[in-house]
């Protein structure tokens, strides 16, 4: 997978305060030979970029025809014979498929909805801390896990949750309990491990954007509320949370596009023979059937459904958002 950087909150998202700065708009010039020649340096600078996206993004999109074809190594991506909707039928007729879809929806639902309040609450708490030095120290520490690979995080989890010698089991047996639980091997613990490690890893980093939005709220509003006798909690509820509502909404809407991808790295690494029944998601299934057992056509079909659903959800939600909240991705 390509190196993902930054935070996936959508590039054009209008997150409030700085959007008012408007440069005097200059329209792109018409497509004439003269204008193109004038910008030749720009096109040279853009050329590798355009080639890159054609090769690594649009060519794979064209390669989705594989979902309707049989893959043969001798003829390559586009050569094999057509098989129609065979792979789709196979997916929908396989009762196991529904387990993967269900697992995916449960995991992504927990991440999108249940995990959502945590960074907001953290941003509120950071905002209440008056000492700047103390606050920025805590903030810096809280961002750190975001920069660690899931490989490292899962390695730490394996160690802490190890039976007998792990910190958690040591604590349990110290308090007189049974310290031999192999948490990663048991289905019933999977969702809490997945959820809390996800919250832990990104709570600090996700709070940045909310914190910035809170900082952009007009202080006069708080003063007015204080004069009216509103308590601090009421101020937070009526001013702070209302003030950052657009930010919360946009981030939520954007994240909905990920409804069918529950985060490959984390789930793949946390998956063990013990919890596979609840930990197999569409992403891991595609990798397993496609890359690991070579059923390229079938895996392409499954991946394609995932991508199409994601796109449709984003388009619908974006249309809804631009009508209802006047905020749009583009």
């Amino acid at each position: 997978m390509e190196v993902t950087t930054g935070k996936n909150i959508g590039p054009e998202a209008n997150l409030g305060k700085n959007s008012k700065k408007k440069k005097n708009r200059v329209k792109p010039m018409k497509f004439t030979i003269k204008n193109i020649w004038k910008h030749r340096a720009m096109y040279i600078m853009l050329l590798p970029c355009i080639v890159f996206f054609i090769v690594f993004s649009y060519l794979p999109m064209a390669g989705m025809v594989l979902a309707f074809k049989e893959f043969r190594f001798d003829t390559g991506m586009f050569g094999g014979p057509w098989v129609g909707l065979k792979y789709f039928e196979r997916f929908f007729q396989d009762p196991q498929s529904w387990t993967f879809v269900k697992n995916t929806l449960i995991i992504s639902g927990m991440k999108l909805i249940l995990a959502m309040p945590f960074p907001i609450i953290l941003a509120l708490i950071f905002n209440e801390i008056k000492s700047n030095k103390l606050r920025s120290f805590f903030q810096s520490v809280s961002y750190l896990p975001h920069f660690l690979s899931w490989v490292v995080v899962v390695g730490i989890i394996q160690s802490i949750l190890a039976p007998n010698t792990g910190l958690l089991n040591e604590l349990i047996s110290f308090m007189g309990g049974d310290g031999s639980t192999f948490y990663l091997m048991e289905e019933k613990y999977f969702h809490s491990i997945m959820f809390w490690s996800y919250v832990w890893k990104d709570i600090g980093w996700s709070s940045i954007i909310y914190f910035a939005a809170i900082a952009g709220i007009d202080p006069a509003l708080y003063e007015a509320a204080a004069i009216d006798g509103a308590s601090r909690l009421r101020q937070i509820w009526h001013i702070t949370l209302t003030g950052i509502r657009p930010t919360i909404l946009i981030l939520f809407i954007l994240s909905l596009g990920n409804i069918l991808s529950a985060g490959f790295d984390q789930i793949y690494l946390l998956k063990t023979p013990g919890n596979a029944e609840v930990a197999e998601i569409i992403d891991t299934y595609v990798i397993r059937t496609g890359l690991q057992s070579g059923q390229f056509g079938y895996a392409t079909a499954v991946g394609m459904m995932q991508g199409v659903v994601g796109l449709i959800v984003v388009l619908i939600v974006n249309r809804f958002a631009s009508k209802k909240f006047n905020t749009s991705l583009w």
Partner: protein
């Protein structure tokens, strides 16, 4: 009375974030302690935040493996080379896209942005890599990661905030567009270059996926992939490591275990990030804040 309730909430707030930070720091101390403890001794349990039987054997053993040193080399190579090329190309593309008069600017921007919303999926992507003979080559770490839509957009936003008058003046003085880019734009853009470069470098250093699925040659695996292999089949690997080290005849002297080697490897993977993190952390947050501004 108001004053009193304030200080109580201050203490409560600080207590909560302090707990969060402890939950981040303590696990590392535990791993660090385990990595500096004799592996055989650690199996008895009871090691928290200090080693009980101090030993550097785990690290010595890990670094004795040619595979680890090799993987370290691959990781450093892809981080340095990949980041350098990627930042330069991203800056060029972002600069061109920021030129408001560029014919076709809107279309090209959408052409790039769309790839963020929809992709062909991993399998066709993998087959493209195969057709290009990138799989099982060191370039699979560098070329497919050269651009990211997100980074292009962050850079473009940054460039759009540079004063136009500087470019105009340079153009009137007869500078070519490339001269403007290299002599004026790049030097003015150090903050955003630092930000994008760091995101990129961290991404390269942390990426285990391409090493695990696009590369078969064990000599081409980066450090993160090596750690991932240790996590998924740790016992087999630990045995192989022990066998390779040729120390079977001195079996009674072996103090390392699969787990303790794993701990040392985790520390080796995170050490560069944690060591430089305090110095570069402010660049990261800057990137998020630039990126969230609409043009």
């Amino acid at each position: 009375m108001r004053q009193k309730s304030w200080s109580f909430s201050q203490i409560l707030n600080i207590f909560i974030v302090a707990l969060l930070c402890l939950s981040i720091i303590l696990p590392f101390l535990n791993i660090l302690a385990l990595s500096f403890n004799e592996g055989t001794d650690a199996q008895r349990g009871g090691i928290y935040f200090f080693p009980r039987e101090f030993s550097v054997d785990n690290y010595l053993e890990v670094f004795k493996q040619s595979s680890v040193l090799n993987a370290l080399g691959i990781s450093v190579f892809r981080t340095v080379v990949g980041t350098a090329i990627s930042v330069l190309l991203t800056a060029m593309a972002a600069y061109a896209l920021n030129t408001r008069t560029l014919p076709g600017r809107k279309f090209i921007t959408f052409f790039i942005f769309f790839t963020m919303l929809f992709s062909g999926g991993i399998i066709p992507y993998y087959l493209v890599l195969t057709e290009l003979n990138l799989t099982n080559s060191i370039w699979v770490y560098i070329i497919p990661g050269l651009y990211s839509v997100w980074n292009i957009l962050i850079m473009r936003t940054f460039f759009s905030q540079l004063p136009d008058s500087v470019f105009e003046a340079a153009r009137i003085d007869g500078c070519s567009e490339f001269q403007i880019f290299f002599r004026i734009v790049l030097p003015m853009s150090k903050p955003v270059i630092a930000t994008i470069g760091l995101f990129n470098a961290v991404g390269h250093w942390n990426d285990w996926f391409s090493g695990a699925f696009y590369v078969r040659d064990p000599n081409l695996k980066p450090l993160a992939t090596l750690l991932q292999e240790m996590l998924t089949r740790q016992q087999a690997l630990a045995d192989a490591l022990l066998r390779n080290s040729g120390s079977y005849e001195m079996l009674e002297k072996i103090t390392v275990t699969g787990d303790s080697l794993k701990m040392a490897t985790i520390i080796i993977v995170v050490a560069p990030i944690i060591i430089i993190y305090p110095f570069i952390q402010k660049h990261f947050t800057k990137g998020v804040n630039i990126g969230s501004v609409k043009e």
